[in-house]
């Protein structure tokens, strides 16, 4: 195992434990871990098992999913500015969630929101496949993704625009910022299978993405099945991003910034970047979610706001570095 893998794994473990022991309930580290593991049936165990554990697991899953999907998308499109939201799945998942809030389904049944979001993601991925086709260049995939993102975004705005209920509108806006607060183990069970399946699909891309460094023609002539690679990428990304959006809302910048930051550490190899970026994404979400609880605990700071606040300056740094290289 390389030093980078060791470092990132250790970082994720530390942040996961920190996410478990940091919170408004003011438990000591030993108290909280004891309550989590042994379970005395008291309120401490309830806090640990029903509130902090699902939140930490979701942070791990969602962060890993976004990092992995971002690295896969950048590798496939051979573009460091690609983002897992590019194929339109997060936009259509968000539309499904927004509809469930607007129609009052989310209020009536807690599971309606993630399930409608998954339905939206499914519709999005089917549309992308119909528009872009299983074969063809990466450009058609980008165009199809942008078309669907734009359409889903327009419909989301339309729902907000026509919303007669200001409470629903503000709930929609807050949901779209992305958060891991008040999630339960049910959310974990919704997201886990999809994220695992998607991650397995995406991890098979490693060799193909490496070969794509030389272009689509050369990769195909070296025995890479581009049709299968494209389908695995679309379905894998749709599964992990759809599931993440369904349980956590739209969290930006992770899939964009994390692969970009870690690329130099894996000698720019797109295949090796997959797992590195998954670990890095998990670390970024866990750290951001800890920040949310530490900085303004009483104001319900949204996770997506923090990732954007952290991610945007990182991007400025990358621009600076790119310009220095270019000069």
């Amino acid at each position: 195992m390389s030093r980078l893998a060791l470092f990132l794994s250790a970082l994720v473990v530390v942040l996961f434990l920190a996410a478990l022991v940091i919170g408004p309930a003011n438990l000591t580290i030993t108290q909280s871990l004891k309550a989590l593991v042994f379970g005395d049936g008291g309120p401490m165990t309830l806090v640990m098992r029903e509130i902090r554990l699902p939140r930490a697991i979701l942070g791990l899953l969602v962060g890993g999913a976004l990092g992995l999907a971002g690295a896969a998308m950048q590798g496939y499109l051979r573009n460091p500015l690609a983002d897992p939201g590019l194929i339109g799945v997060s936009g259509s998942a968000a539309l499904g969630a927004v509809l469930s809030i607007q129609m009052g389904l989310a209020a009536a049944l807690a599971l309606a929101l993630p399930l409608m979001a998954l339905g939206g993601a499914l519709v999005g991925v089917v549309l992308v496949l119909l528009l872009a086709g299983p074969r063809g260049s990466s450009l058609t995939l980008i165009l199809a993704g942008i078309a669907i993102s734009a359409f889903a975004g327009a419909l989301t705005s339309l729902v907000l625009n026509l919303s007669p209920n200001p409470y629903a509108a503000s709930e929609i806006i807050f949901w779209m910022m992305g958060s891991l607060a008040d999630r339960s183990m049910v959310h974990v069970w919704i997201a886990l299978p999809l994220i695992v399946i998607g991650a397995v699909l995406l991890s098979t891309l490693s060799r193909g993405l490496d070969a794509l460094t030389l272009g689509e023609d050369a990769a195909e002539a070296m025995g890479i099945n581009l049709t299968r690679l494209r389908l695995s990428l679309i379905f894998g990304t749709a599964a992990v991003v759809g599931a993440s959006t369904a349980v956590a809302g739209a969290i930006g910048f992770v899939g964009l910034v994390v692969p970009h930051l870690l690329r130099p550490w894996v000698s720019a190899r797109p295949g090796a970047l997959l797992w590195a970026s998954a670990l890095g994404g998990a670390a970024m979400i866990l750290a951001s979610d800890i920040l949310v609880r530490v900085v303004l605990p009483e104001r319900d700071l949204k996770l997506g706001v923090v990732t954007a606040l952290v991610g945007a300056p990182l991007f400025l740094h990358l621009i600076y570095r790119t310009r220095r290289w270019g000069a």
């Binding site: 490496d210 794509l212 460094t213 030389l214 272009g215 023609d217 195909e220 025995g223």
Partner: protein, 252 residues
Amino acid sequence: MNLLSLTDFAVKRSGKQVLQSVNLDIQPGELVGLIGPNGAGKTTLMRAALGLIPAQGRSSLTAMAARARGKAAAWMPQSREIAWPVDVETLIRLGRTPHLGAGQKPTDADAAAVERAIARMGLEGYRHRIATQLSGGEQARVLIARSLAQEAPLLMADEPTAGLDPAHQIATMQTFATLARSGQSVLVSLHDLGLAARHCTRLVMLHSGGIAADGAPRDVLTPDLIRAAFGISAHLQETPDGIIFQPLEVLS
């Protein structure tokens, strides 16, 4: 045994018949130059033979499974893409892709093939340089080394000498000739007819949708065929050093 066999091969692109009735067999030990004016279908022929674009007729390569084809023929496209700032050795090692099973790590045999390719292209000093920061000609040499590392019996290269300085153009053609002498075969498209005349064991001239001539360089580079295909006149001389071919003027 033929390394490539095209029978009654034809390619249509966006409704236009680009190539038809192409029959071509390449035996071991040949260095075949594919020549023809712009748009004659050199790239199309090679890509279709590999199965990268649809075609009619039979190609011995498209009949194979994807990975078997990757072991049977290496392909160096004309567009010299290097998408990520990887180091030269990593890039050349990508040529071993068809030899690796799912999840398999490169073996000593793969490392040895990469070393041979680096040595053949004289890239020892470049090993740890970042490929995207090299000059265009250096990148071309690295990409040729990548296709050599594939160690397939047939190497197909599209304009591999474009953008190289004269020494590296000659060295590249000599590398191909060495491969051919060792029993591999090379099919290479070229615009430099002097280079083609001097180094290739055989030339295939594409013109108006098919093979206009196929044979030894001196039999293909005749004044009539050169005028018909390229619309130029040329000077050809057999010397003790080999054939010297120099295009002279555009004929109206």
